[in-house]
C-alpha cells in the first residue's frame, strides 16, 4: 500500500519518528504488538526495503508510527529517511508482519533493549495486559529521545546509560518462574542477555528474540549462480539478497531479517557465514544452505543452486 509521510519529528541527531497514513485517511491493517512493516525507500540507483517496528500498536488504525535510527553505514534506507524524506512523500509500505509477538501464556515479561532495539517494545507496553519490566540501554546523548517515547513515571521502565549497571545475571536470577525474556538490540547485547539466561537454566521456550539487520556488512565476496549462469559481486555494505535483486533476479524472500526461512537457497560450494536465526545448528554445520537476507561467506566465493 502507498502511505504518505504525515509528519517527521527529530528526536535526536540520529533518531527520527515518522507518522505514516493513507491518503484518504482509510483505516490501516492492524499491526499487533511486535509487528513490523517493510518500507520501500528510493535510492540513487535502486530502491531499498527496510523493516521497521510499528510502535503505535494495534489500537491505532489511522496511522503507523515508526522510529528510525540513521545507521552509520547506511545501505541507503535510513540515510534516505534522514536526509531526503519530507512530509508529503509517499512510500510503498507492506502489510504488518510479526516475527516477535509476545507470549500469551507468560505470567510476566522481562523486556531488555539496547539502542534502537527498543522499537518493538514500544508497541508491547501499549498492549500487554500482564505485568512487565523494561530495561533499556542507550548512549547518554540519546536518553532524551528514548525517554520521550516512553511513559513518564512508570516504575517498571528503567533507562540505563551505563551497561555495567545492568547485570543480566542478577536481573534474570531475580525473576519468577512464569517470566518470559525478550531481548532486542546489538548482537553482543543480545548474546550477553541470552547467555545469562541459558547459564541460569532458562528454557528456550521462555526466551524470545528478533533481530533486524544484524550483520549485514562484511567482506566482499563473489557468488556464482548455477541455474541462471550469472556471477554476482556482493559489496561490503549490501546483503546477498540485495545483490541478487540488483542483478535483476527475483530470489524468494519475506522477512529480510533471518527469521522466516523463506529466502533459503542451496549452497553447492564454498562456506557460508550464517547470521540467520532460522537454520538449526546441524543444518548450519552442513553448509549446504544459506539464508540470503543476512548471511554472507567465509570463503571468497560461493556457488548457489539458483
Amino acid at each position: 500500500m502507498k502511505l504518505r509521510i504525515e509528519a517527521i519529528s527529530v528526536l535526536s541527531p540520529t533518531i527520527r519518528r515518522f507518522i505514516l497514513a493513507a491518503d484518504d485517511g482509510a483505516p490501516l491493517p492492524v499491526a499487533g504488538a511486535g509487528a513490523h512493516v517493510m518500507v520501500s525507500l528510493p535510492g540513487e540507483t535502486r530502491s531499498w526495503r527496510n523493516a521497521y517496528s510499528v510502535v503505535s500498536g494495534p489500537g491505532m488504525r489511522d496511522h503507523y508510527e515508526i522510529v528510525v535510527r540513521r545507521s552509520q553505514q547506511s545501505r541507503g534506507g535510513s540515510a534516505f529517511l534522514h536526509e531526503r524524506a519530507v512530509a508529503g512523500d509517499r512510500l510503498e509500505v507492506g502489510l504488518p508482519q510479526n516475527f516477535f509477538a509476545p507470549s500469551r501464556i507468560a505470567g510476566r515479561h522481562l523486556l531488555l533493549s539496547g539502542g534502537i532495539g527498543i522499537t518493538p517494545f514500544l508497541s508491547y507496553i501499549r498492549t500487554l495486559h500482564t505485568p512487565f519490566e523494561l530495561h533499556h540501554c542507550c548512549k547518554r546523548e540519546d536518553t532524551p529521545a528514548f525517554a520521550g517515547l516512553l511513559p513518564s513515571g512508570a516504575t517498571n521502565i528503567v533507562l540505563h546509560t551505563n551497561r555495567e549497571e545492568l547485570n543480566f545475571r542478577t536481573l534474570l536470577a531475580a525473576q519468577k518462574l512464569d517470566t518470559h525474556l525478550y531481548c532486542c538490540g546489538p548482537e553482543d547485547f543480545m548474546n550477553d542477555a541470552f547467555g545469562a539466561a541459558r547459564h541460569l537454566g532458562w528454557p528456550e521456550a521462555k526466551i524470545h528474540r528478533e533481530s533486524f539487520g544484524g550483520v549485514v556488512s562484511g567482506a566482499f565476496f563473489t557468488v556464482h549462480l548455477k541455474k541462471s549462469g550469472l556471477t554476482v559481486q556482493v559489496r561490503q555494505e549490501e546483503t546477498l539478497l540485495d545483490a541478487l535483486e540488483a542483478a535483476g533476479l527475483e530470489p524468494p524472500s519475506l522477512c529480510r531479517g533471518g527469521a522466516c526461512g523463506e529466502c533459503e537457497l542451496p549452497v553447492l560450494a564454498g562456506i557460508p557465514a550464517h547470521h540467520d536465526h532460522y537454520l538449526s545448528d546441524s543444518r548450519r554445520a552442513k553448509n549446504d544452505a544459506i539464508m540470503t537476507c543476512v548471511s554472507r561467506a567465509h570463503t571468497s566465493e560461493l556457488v548457489l543452486d539458483f
Binding site: V30, A35, P58, P96, N98, A101, R104, A205, L254
Partner: protein, 357 residues
C-alpha cells in the same frame, strides 16, 4: 450474492436438506486427478476458483439457516463443542472482526457492520440479529466474542496459538466435524493432533506444512481441500455422538447408497490474525449425496476412480471400509473409462438427469 436461503432444513432425524441445482454446481469437488494422495496442497485463498464456492472469503450458501440451527442444537446438548483457552482472548476479537468484516463485504444484503471508534453495530438479517457492542469489551456481547460470531457462520473454526516453534489448538467451535473431538484435541500441538493420520507423517507432509504455516503472512490467507465420506447429510459426526451415527455405516446397501451416502468436502482456510498473531483455521464443510453428485458427469467418473484405487491405509482411516465397494460399484455404472481432463470444475453449465439402476 443471492443466497436463496432455505428457511427450514434439518441435518439430523429426517435429513430434510437437499442441494438445489445451483448448490450442486457450486460444490467444491476436491479431486484434480484420478488418484488421491496426501500433499501440502495449500494455495492462496483469494476470491475466485473452479466453482462459486470460492467467490467469498467465508462462503455461505442456501443451507446457512439450517446449519446455524443445527449448530445451536449440538451446543445445547454439549457446550464443550465450543471452547477457547483464556490466553486466546485477543484471537477471539480478531476472529469476530475478520468474520464480520468479510460477511458484510461479501453479502451486504444479508449483513451490515457499522463502526465508529470502538462502537460496533452488527446486523444479521437471515438470523434476525441486531446488536450494538463495544469492540474489545466482552461484557457488551451476550456470548464470548468467538462463540458469538461462529454461531453465525457455516463451518467449524479452530484457533491456533503460535509458540515454541509449533501451533497449539487452543480454541475452537466444532459441531460439524469428520469424527474428531475438540474436547480431546484442545491444547495439543500440530503434530499431536495430526498423530492419527496415516501415511502423511512418513511423507513429511506435516513437517513441511507446519514450517509453511509458522510464517503464514498476515493478509495472505491460504486454503486447501480435505474430504471424507459420511452416511446421510449429517453435520455432527463427532466421537462424542458415535453411538448415534456409527451404526448408520452398517445400513448402506446397493439400493440406498446413492440416496444415503454423501461425499463430505472441507474447504479449509488458514488466516493469520493480526492482534494475537494466532492462526484461524476455518473448516467449511459441504455435503452432497452421491445421487446429486453423479449429475455432473466428470465428478461421477473421477470419484469412482479415486475411491476404487484409494490407498488402503487412507481408506481405513477415513472409515470407509464397510461400504467402499458398494460405492465403487454404484459409481462404476457412470464411468465409461474414457480419459477425463485434470481439474475440479464441473465443466457443465447445467445438470444432467440421471436414472439410477
Amino acid at each position: 450474492m443471492n443466497l436463496n436461503l432455505k428457511p427450514d432444513e434439518t441435518f439430523r432425524g429426517d435429513f430434510s436438506t437437499r442441494n438445489s441445482d445451483t448448490a450442486i454446481l457450486r460444490f467444491p469437488f476436491p479431486f484434480h486427478d484420478d488418484k488421491y494422495m496426501y500433499a501440502v496442497n495449500l494455495e492462496p485463498h483469494v476470491r475466485g476458483g473452479p466453482t462459486a464456492a470460492y467467490d467469498a472469503i467465508f462462503d455461505l450458501d442456501e443451507h446457512y439457516i439450517g446449519e446455524c440451527r443445527d449448530r445451536a442444537l449440538t451446543l445445547a446438548e454439549d457446550p464443550l463443542r465450543c471452547q477457547v483457552l483464556p490466553h486466546m482472548i485477543e484471537a477471539e476479537w480478531d476472529t469476530l472482526e475478520l468474520l464480520m468484516e468479510s460477511l458484510a463485504f461479501d453479502y451486504p444484503e444479508h449483513f451490515t457492520l457499522t463502526k465508529s471508534g470502538t462502537d460496533r453495530h452488527w446486523v444479521n438479517r437471515p438470523l434476525g440479529l441486531d446488536r450494538n457492542f463495544t469492540f474489545g469489551d466482552a461484557s457488551s456481547l451476550p456470548l464470548p466474542p468467538f462463540e458469538y460470531i461462529t454461531r453465525q457462520v457455516q463451518g467449524d473454526f479452530t484457533l491456533h496459538d503460535q509458540r515454541e516453534n509449533t501451533l497449539f489448538m487452543d480454541g475452537g467451535m466444532v459441531t460439524s466435524q469428520a469424527d474428531w473431538s475438540l474436547n480431546f484435541d484442545l491444547g495439543m500441538t500440530f503434530h499431536e493432533w495430526h498423530g492419527p493420520v496415516p501415511v502423511a507423517h512418513e511423507l513429511g507432509v506435516f513437517d513441511r506444512a507446519l514450517a509453511y504455516l509458522m510464517r503464514l503472512p498476515y493478509g495472505k490467507p491460504v486454503r486447501r481441500l480435505n474430504w471424507t465420506l459420511t452416511v446421510h447429510p449429517r453435520l455432527d459426526t463427532s466421537p462424542e455422538t458415535y453411538p448415534i451415527w456409527g451404526p448408520d455405516k452398517a445400513t448402506i446397501t446397493p439400493a440406498n447408497v446413492g440416496a444415503h451416502m454423501c461425499l463430505r468436502v472441507e474447504l479449509q482456510t488458514l488466516t493469520r490474525l493480526p492482534r494475537s498473531n494466532a492462526i484461524l483455521f476455518g473448516i467449511r464443510g459441504y455435503l452432497i449425496r452421491l445421487d446429486e453428485l453423479v449429475r455432473v458427469k466428470k465428478w461421477a467418473m473421477r470419484l469412482h476412480r479415486v475411491l476404487r484405487d484409494l490407498h488402503p491405509g487412507i481408506a481405513e482411516y477415513k472409515g470407509t471400509s464397510r461400504y467402499r465397494q458398494t460405492i465403487v460399484d454404484y459409481l462404476g455404472a457412470f464411468d465409461d473409462g474414457s480419459i477425463i481432463s485434470p481439474g475440479t470444475g464441473s465443466e457443465q453449465a447445467s445438470l444432467r438427469e440421471v436414472t439410477t439402476a
